[in-house]
């Protein structure tokens, strides 16, 4: 009997200690996060203040991204892809090099644009001030912004004229660096690796199907497309190619990728004229290349 009581009190002490520790840890993180409420964002002439976005975040974002910004809002369980966990400070849409923090303007643009093929809506009905405040608020969830500076934005050379030669060169880049392994030989998102891909949190993720949409998560313009594969989508298997693809080649690839998409474009028109077919260049078979 006494022994049992002793055991009991030991267990109780242990429980209380653990509870207290985690409580004070939670307190500490909360306090630390509150300190970060002073975080600002700077987009052109706009200055966003994290503290000013508390109400807006609660009204619009909390159901998905959660009170703690951990992506565990009440709706997260029903969504695929899952809402971003802001505490990690890892973002898909950046103009900065892979592995680095995005610019404030990247977050601002993402909030206004939304992420296609996900439940993240475009928040452009909110005023630019509200979006700037929200960008600062998104930052305040992660300690990364205290210790690190945003990365350097990659340079995008002026877009050249699209030509038949560039389309063919782009097709070869697609072949050479093996975009097809994931995106499929004709860009339909059905490459040999496609079925096995997972993101950083081990959740299955599909490569983009170029035949399916005319928008990307991270933008719509040719410059956006250039930026997407040269910076990569951090947190996903979609890597940055800036080490493997030279700037001029990158433009060739942009033009080639445009020929795979459903909407009209000059690139697509030229491809039709020269009879350029998606897939491996003439010599190789158009079916999935052997690994």
């Amino acid at each position: 009997m006494r022994r049992m009581m002793l055991n009991g009190s030991l267990v109780l002490t242990a429980v209380v200690t653990v509870a207290l520790c985690s409580f004070s840890w939670a307190q500490a993180t909360k306090a630390e996060e509150d300190r970060r409420l002073g975080m600002e964002s700077h987009i052109g002439k706009l200055t966003g203040h994290a503290a000013a976005a508390q109400g807006t975040y609660r009204r619009y974002c909390v159901g998905c991204h959660g009170v703690l910004g951990d992506g565990e809002g009440e709706n997260a369980q029903w969504l695929d892809p899952k809402p971003r966990n802001f505490t990690l400070g890892i973002f898909k849409c950046r103009s900065t090099t892979t592995g680095t923090l995005p610019l404030d303007s990247d977050l601002f643009d993402t909030i206004g644009r939304g992420l296609d093929s996900s439940n993240m809506p475009s928040w452009n009905p909110l005023s630019s001030q509200e979006r700037a405040d929200l960008a600062a608020y998104v930052k305040h969830f992660s300690a990364r912004w205290v210790t690190e500076k945003p990365g350097t934005p990659i340079e995008i050379p002026k877009k050249p004229e699209v030509t038949a030669e560039r389309l063919k060169a782009g097709q070869e880049v697609f072949q050479r660096v093996e975009c097809w392994k994931c995106h499929g030989p004709t860009g339909m998102g059905n490459g040999p690796s496609a079925a096995t891909l997972t993101d950083d949190q081990n959740r299955p993720i599909l490569p983009y199907n170029f035949h399916d949409g005319n928008r990307f998560k991270c933008g719509t313009t040719d410059e956006d497309l250039y930026r997407i594969f040269m910076t990569g989508l951090d947190g996903t298997p979609m890597p940055s190619w800036s080490d493997n693809i030279k700037p001029d080649e990158a433009w060739d690839l942009v033009f080639y990728l445009r020929t795979l998409q459903p909407m009209k474009s000059k690139a697509k028109e030229i491809a039709r004229q020269i009879g350029l077919k998606p897939g491996a260049p003439s010599a190789a078979p158009a079916s999935a290349p052997q690994q």
């Binding site: 619009y60 009440e74 969504l79 996900s118 809506p121 452009n124 009905p125 005023s127 001030q129």
Partner: protein
């Protein structure tokens, strides 16, 4: 005239009861919230009033435009249906009602008790990308249902946000929506401006607050800052089976939103309703038996005004003005081509309301509306210039302890006071007030 007043007095009572139901069928759909994983507050300033994000969602044909809008993306268990119910206790008091037992022939009548305003069954959403529908079945307190809304929409035709069509029965494109109003009481639940008819006038089809049958074109910029619409509607006040007989009304609206620094996004707009409706009807078997669709003797009416939604921190203001005019035949309840009373002319009036909201949080909102309607020209010369003028003041709050992406539950308290000049049976002013304590929930 006196009998017209009597009719009006009971009219006010009836109309206020009618408003209690009519104003309630707001299109707040937890079904949308479930579909997209959004909380009520994302689309609603306070349920059911839309905010700018919600207005854009609606204007896009109930789509977020994220390439996941088609129902094919939904889990099989998804069912786009919402139910709204409003049980309440309310008290109504009208100071001068024609009463047989009263020595003077009129007295105050007050009633109070527990009640339910009926039930709304709403369904809406996409059938496919850019093809959507909405229906709202509303019942009265005896569970007699009618179609409050039923329409199909074709959006982004030719890939352009400027080409959206809607056919069926729908709410007119009022950016300050009565159907999504935040007030519920008998005399304060609707906007007087959206239903005003001068005393002695029998034109009921000029009510911009009532849902109408027709075809609407809506165009808007991609971010919905600029929006413009034109609708061709039956002159039938939304009634079925073509009672208005081959007459039509046009409704036009436009608005522009702009950012005002830290104050946020403001919106200003205009609307105009111009139409014709019959003042006479063919009959069969006596004057009490009109032939459906047998209307003739069409006369003109018009309503036009400005509107705006302005934000100032936690305060916002909805403002609507109106200049209205009814042809002399309507204004004197004369069946054309019958003889008009001597000197008869159109009835003309001006009106405005300001509804102020203090949004403490998405879950607690305080509401005040002041509304004024003033006759500027009486149909019959010599009529007191203020006959029929209306003043209405409403105060209330809505507290929503539950507001997630599955359901909304509001505790709603409201008081409203209304006066119509010369509206009492004896020709003096008629006032009435309503007190409403209730729950308003949907799921």
């Amino acid at each position: 005239m006196t009998s017209a007043r009597k009719r009006f007095a009971s009219g006010v009572l009836l109309a206020s009861l009618f408003l209690l139901f009519a104003a309630r069928d707001a299109n707040a759909l937890p079904a949308f919230a479930r579909k997209y994983g959004l909380r009520c507050s994302a689309c609603h300033e306070a349920w059911p009033m839309l905010n700018y994000f919600g207005q854009k969602f609606k204007d896009n044909g109930y789509q977020l435009m994220n390439d996941r809008d088609a129902p094919i993306w939904q889990n099989n268990g998804y069912w786009p249906v919402t139910i709204r119910i409003t049980p309440s206790w309310h008290r109504e008091s009208t100071d001068k009602v024609a009463v047989d037992q009263a020595a003077s022939g009129q007295q105050r009548v007050t009633s109070h008790g527990f009640d339910v305003g009926g039930l709304d069954l709403l369904s809406g959403g996409t059938l496919d990308k850019n093809l959507s529908f909405l229906f709202v079945l509303s019942s009265d307190e005896n569970a007699a249902f009618h179609f409050e809304s039923v329409n199909a929409r074709f959006d982004n035709l030719f890939g352009s946000p400027w080409l959206n069509l809607k056919v069926g029965k729908f709410e007119l494109d009022n950016i300050v929506s009565e159907k999504r109003g935040l007030t519920l009481s008998s005399s304060g639940g609707g906007f007087q401006l959206y239903h005003f008819v001068p005393l002695g006038d029998n034109n009921f089809v000029g009510q911009i607050g009532d849902n109408q049958f027709g075809l609407e074109w809506l165009g808007h910029s991609a971010n919905d800052r600029t929006r413009i619409s034109a609708a061709l509607i039956n002159s039938s006040d939304g009634n079925v089976d073509l009672p208005g007989s081959n007459s039509y009304t046009g409704f036009f609206a436009g608005s522009q939103a702009f950012e005002l620094g830290k104050l946020g996004t403001q919106r200003v707009g205009f609307y105009a309703m111009v139409g014709q409706a019959p003042t006479n009807t063919l009959t069969s078997g006596g004057p009490d038996f009109p032939i459906a669709g047998g209307g003739f003797g069409n006369k003109n009416f018009s309503r036009e005004g400005f509107n705006g939604i302005f934000y100032l921190g936690k305060l916002d203001f909805q403002v609507v003005t109106q200049h209205g005019s009814d042809d002399a035949y309507f204004a004197t309840s004369t069946a054309a081509p019958g003889a008009l009373p001597a000197g008869a002319r159109s009835a003309v009036w001006n009106g405005a309301f300001v509804e102020t909201h203090y949004v403490y949080s998405p879950q607690l909102i305080f509401i005040q509306r002041s509304e004024w309607l003033r006759m500027s020209q009486q149909a019959i010369p010599g009529t007191p210039s203020n006959l029929g003028d209306i003043d209405n003041y409403v105060f209330g709050y809505r507290y929503m302890p539950i507001m997630n992406s599955r359901a909304g539950f509001a505790i709603h308290n409201e008081y409203s006071w209304i006066r119509q000049r010369g509206g009492a049976p004896d020709g003096t002013d008629l006032t009435s007030n309503s007190l409403f304590l209730g729950f308003d929930f949907d799921f």
